[in-house]
Symmetry: D2
Subunit: 155 residues, 4 copies
């Protein structure tokens, strides 16, 4: 199973008055990880959109475990946990790259849309590529069913 | 069970190049709904923080059902679905206020922290107030266990 | 000269760890004011884009005078200070709607683009409408030349 | 004069429905550049805040010259153009790191505040450090008076 690693520092704009990162920014970081995983597969998402293949977020689940702070070095570890005909699930572990503390676990389900925003199948070659990257993933989600978050039961 | 209604228009800044609202903004709208529910209860969150009571997001689950677009009038319907000693769950239905189309369903679990960021109990009076607002809620979550998203099994 | 007034509360997401609103959000609020001014003129910006008229921000100047805080009620007073063939200047006064304290003064220059992102002239009817709204504006900018910020000398 | 270079890719979250980066994100990128310049000087801003030295944005001016797009590699070149007792001016050139196209020029004026948000002087050592970095800067601003944007005439 392919795991892509992305690192960057927390921006001041991402903090809130609690002195930590505002929670929705974790999901933007997941987007950055997802973009990098696709790039590593040789299928940049920017290119996919040019070819009329859009991946829209259909469901998200995030469990926040520790606070990220301004200027912290963040590492996002992204995996592709499921690739079906019309949907793809990514899983993410967000950690502090210096202390190795785990900050959050997340999953996102994306569905494939065409230029008009209607559901479509993933192109066969892309689906095969994504499935190879997901190979070995349990498809059960990093968060797990016991924890209660299973972002799409059957995408 | 108390349900608070909040309305506002989609900002251009909230759109992305897919021509629709970028998904994490739905969670910011949930924050607006949550703020308004607390205000309606007579316990503004701004005031809570001044008294050393912080509510930090511990888990989120969102199911995206339809796209919101620039300048759409959005309605957030917020309920308090569970209030425990140290945690509170809010549920949200986001809809287009003009077409009544449901855009998303979401849940967020928040835990109570003190000024230093350590877990603490909700003040007794606040807990009673929140429980009265949650009264009649099933505590099962609007999204439901069948749908797979139950953001915190046991907060 | 037409002045449009817009009010809303500060979102938690808009604060930063200094305990106040992160500065770029003031410019997003200006966008909200601008949208409302166009709506009041009967020319919603959403509709303009559908007709192939895009207004892109070409220059901004903001002077920050006082901090906005979470849950503050903000008032944006927007005026159209100049309307030319290919460019429009808006001026903004941001204030706390409860204390009447002025938070910031801003100007933005927008240029007219077509669907492909190339410069184009404003449609004649739109230009006339905008000029009527700007009527009586000095065209010198609320910030003024002495203050040093004149966002576009000759748009 | 010290010039710091920062590079990163455009996030999908930063785009808007015009298909380009929403303009206020350029100012967030300036914040990233400013943070990196201070780090390069050996005075991380995170550390400054811990010592009670806050730099708050008092004025900004940005001239947008070309569109940045999703996944573009952005380069921010940051310089410190003026360091006074109570205020600092940074200047920025934002460019596409692959095509070298200049996307925007910006200036920001920051004033020094204490923990309570009151104006204070920069600590002498910090002021000396900043002045050494600004050494050789014209103090006239990269945008220049002819262009009309001079974000603070006399900070």
């Amino acid at each position: 199973m392919l795991e892509t690693t992305t690192e960057f520092r927390v921006r001041y704009a991402e903090t809130d008055q609690m002195g930590v990162v505002y929670h929705t920014n974790y999901l933007i970081w997941c987007e950055v990880g997802r973009t990098d995983l696709l790039r590593q597969l040789g299928a940049t998402y920017a290119e996919l959109e040019k070819r009329g293949v859009y991946l829209a977020v259909a469901e998200v689940g995030v469990r926040f475990l520790a606070a990220a702070r301004y200027d912290d070095l963040i590492r996002v570890r992204t995996t592709l946990s499921k690739a079906r005909s019309r949907a793809v699930r990514f899983a993410y572990v967000l950690e502090n790259a210096e202390t190795h503390e785990i900050l959050a676990r997340a999953e996102t389900d994306l569905i494939c849309l065409d230029r008009e925003g209607s559901p479509r199948k993933l192109p066969a070659a892309l689906k095969a590529l994504l499935q190879s990257a997901a190979d070995g993933a349990t498809g059960e989600g990093t968060i797990g069913t016991n924890a209660g978050v299973d972002v799409v039961a059957d995408a």
